[in-house]
């Protein structure tokens, strides 16, 4: 009985051990499931993030391909490009085994093609297979791009515009799994098992983005720098030469020069420096010259180089014939208001002189309907303002002067109310003097290669100058408007720029 009692006491202990095992197993199972679920969700999140990152990388690849195309157009260097005759295909081109190397931009029935992912070019042109990056996630981006005329006719300047299509493909790191960010699918369109355009099977997920850019040829501007001279430059009085960009809000304020947004492209160049002296005033740009060393250049912030050789185009009077201008006004000597015309039919005046003094004002008024207004004024004599007299042109008024004699602006000088230098072009013809002693800023471009120009009185020039000599004194300076670089009159193409940018999101 004692033995039995002992057995009876030990049996419950056996049952307890079983319960503990069950409890432990259950607990471990629950914890394992929790961990597994967490890891699974975490991997899904990582997958979604990797796909989003690849989507961005694909755009970077496509844009780099566009850059390659524009670089080829700008430089005329077509290394590794091939030319294919025929119309541009919807899908990636498949050139033959011996494609024709490109030697220039494509003709109207051709397109140029560059890729870093096809065998023929690998063999023939030794193009690297893909762009590679280091770090986490995707390390492989492939691109291809085409250039064609898209059937576009020549523009009004006789220049051909080109269509650039570029596609970037980035591998999406991770398994072929739909993102747990359900709303991402319609945006990123990640290819998991198949290429969504060709329907070909793919070995790993990828993001593909295509952009189409239309580029236009820009004229080679004569306003590639702030100051271009045939002879000496002299500065004194603490003025500065720098730059801004009237078309870029980050480099100007409402299109006007803003010292807080100063740029450093106020370049100065002279083909014969003579006795040039900068007197240690500040030049936020480069100095280039031929001839004697320019004196006191300590505060030139850019480079100083020599020699400098360029051909400065001469200026000439317009070739108007009788009846092509408004003959009702032959000179301006008092307060006068002139009305303008349209771009295709500008108001033309041929004056023997402009000479206003006292409190007289010459006003170039804008069209009442608010449209851009155009003037062309040919002054066969002198152009002079003195006393408190001044010339003013309204916003949206574009004026081009041809002046055959001295120009002297003082007092109120010249008020370009639109604040855009390209709207006031002063062509000086022959060899004369140009003096601006007004205190206000003269916003203009001055193309007077035979003129000796003196800017004094504290007012600066906002625009650009081509002259024989330039003397900036009394604190006057020059703020070069970089936007002028695309407004030249020379039709030669300097470079290509975006005219249209579109992402194909199919």
């Amino acid at each position: 009985m004692q033995q039995r009692a002992s057995n009876m006491k030990t049996n419950p202990s056996t049952n307890e051990r079983g319960a503990i095992l069950l409890t432990v197993l259950l607990t471990v199972t629950i914890l394992t499931m929790l961990c597994f679920t967490s890891l699974y969700i975490a991997s899904q999140n990582a997958n979604a993030t990797a796909q989003a990152a690849s989507w961005q990388q694909a755009l970077g690849g496509a844009e780099s391909a566009v850059d390659q195309a524009i670089a080829a157009l700008n430089t005329g260097t077509w290394t590794n490009w091939i030319t294919i005759t025929g119309s541009l295909p919807n899908l990636q081109p498949q050139p033959g085994a011996t494609p024709a190397a490109a030697s220039g931009p494509p003709a109207s029935n051709q397109y140029n093609y560059l890729s870093n992912s096809i065998t023929p070019q690998l063999a023939q042109y030794n193009v690297a297979n893909a762009l590679t990056t280091n770090g986490e996630g995707n390390s492989l981006v492939s691109v291809w791009t085409t250039i064609d005329t898209a059937g576009l006719p020549l523009d009004s300047n006789g220049n051909q515009w080109y269509r650039i299509r570029a596609t970037g493909t980035a591998a999406a790191a991770g398994p072929p799994r739909v993102s747990n960010q359900g709303l991402d699918s319609s945006l990123r369109k990640i290819g998991l098992r198949f290429d969504r355009k060709t329907s070909n099977a793919i070995s790993s997920p990828q993001a593909t983005r295509t952009i189409e850019v239309i580029v236009q040829g820009l004229a080679q501007s004569i306003w590639v720098r702030g100051i271009t001279l045939k002879n000496t430059i002299s500065m004194s009085g603490g003025g500065v030469i720098d730059s801004f960009n009237s078309s870029d809000p980050f480099k100007s304020t409402n299109g006007a020069y803003d010292v807080t947004k100063r740029q450093s492209h106020g370049d100065v160049a002279t083909t014969s420096s003579g006795n040039s002296n900068l007197n240690n005033t500040y030049v936020y740009g480069n100095l280039a010259y031929s001839g004697s060393a320019v004196k006191n250049t300590t505060n030139v912030q850019g480079t100083i180089s020599t020699p400098f050789n360029t051909s400065i185009p001469s200026t000439s009077d317009p070739s108007w014939t009788s009846g092509m201008w408004n003959s009702s006004i032959t000179q301006v000597t008092g307060t006068t208001t002139l009305t303008g015309g349209t771009q295709s039919s500008p108001a033309r005046y041929k004056l023997s002189q402009i000479n206003i003094s006292g409190s007289n004002v010459l006003t170039l008024t804008a069209n009442s309907d608010g449209t851009d207004t155009y003037f062309e004024i040919w002054i066969t004599g002198k152009m002079t303002t003195s006393g408190n007299a001044y010339i003013t042109q309204d916003p949206k008024v574009h004026v081009t002067y041809w002046v055959d004699d001295d120009i002297s602006l003082s007092g109120g000088s010249y008020v370009n109310r639109g604040g855009v230098a390209a709207d006031l072009v002063i062509n000086g013809i022959g060899t004369h003097n140009f003096t601006d002693s007004g205190g206000a800023t003269l916003t203009a471009v001055i193309d007077a290669p035979g003129y000796n120009i003196t800017i004094s009185g504290g007012g600066s020039v906002s625009g650009a100058v081509i002259a024989n000599t330039l003397n900036l004194s009394g604190g006057s300076g020059l703020h070069y408007d970089e936007a002028l670089n695309t407004n030249g009159t020379n039709s030669a193409i300097g470079n290509y720029a975006f005219a249209s940018w579109f992402e194909d999101t199919r």
Binding site: N45, Q181, L183, S247, F498, W501, F502, D504
Partner: protein, 196 residues
Amino acid sequence: MIALRNARQGFTLVEMLMTLGCSSVVLTALVLGGVALQRSFAAVEGYSVAEGDQLRVSDYIAMDVRRALTASVDGNNVLTVTIPNYYDANNNDPRWSNAHAVAPSFDANGMIQYGAGTTTIKYYQSASNFIREVNGTPTTIARNVSAFAVTPQDLTSSVSCSITFNPTFTYLPGPGPVAGTTIYSNTFLRNATARQ
């Protein structure tokens, strides 16, 4: 009688109390640990979802503004952009199978145009949803949005806007220590500037 008593012998009161006490401690720890794990998981998941929403909204706006011809904002903070009709059909929902790119041409002003007219895309907040509307067809692209604003500026050069998201996980009652997450999107209007 002794045998009968032994057969019915269970745990003593002290044993039972000890067992119950230990079990309670273990179970409480398990429950609290599980709850903490779930809470942490929910917080991480909420963060991930919110980040995905923020990325998506930012990417959508940037994608459309980059290719936009015009951008404007009205008094209700509805951002409206127009893009070219680039496809020969289904500009509202272009897919590789149902739309083809059209060739560019010059318009009357010498600028590039594609198909006739434009596609209008609007972005706005509707309750807590953020909507992308293409030619009048709205689609929710993010949820849990508390505010959307377009910064007053010159919309001919760039578009700057901010979107604030409510926190998706709050431990404390009310909005919690973080009132929301605000993202800022600043995108350059490439086409608008190209036309200046």
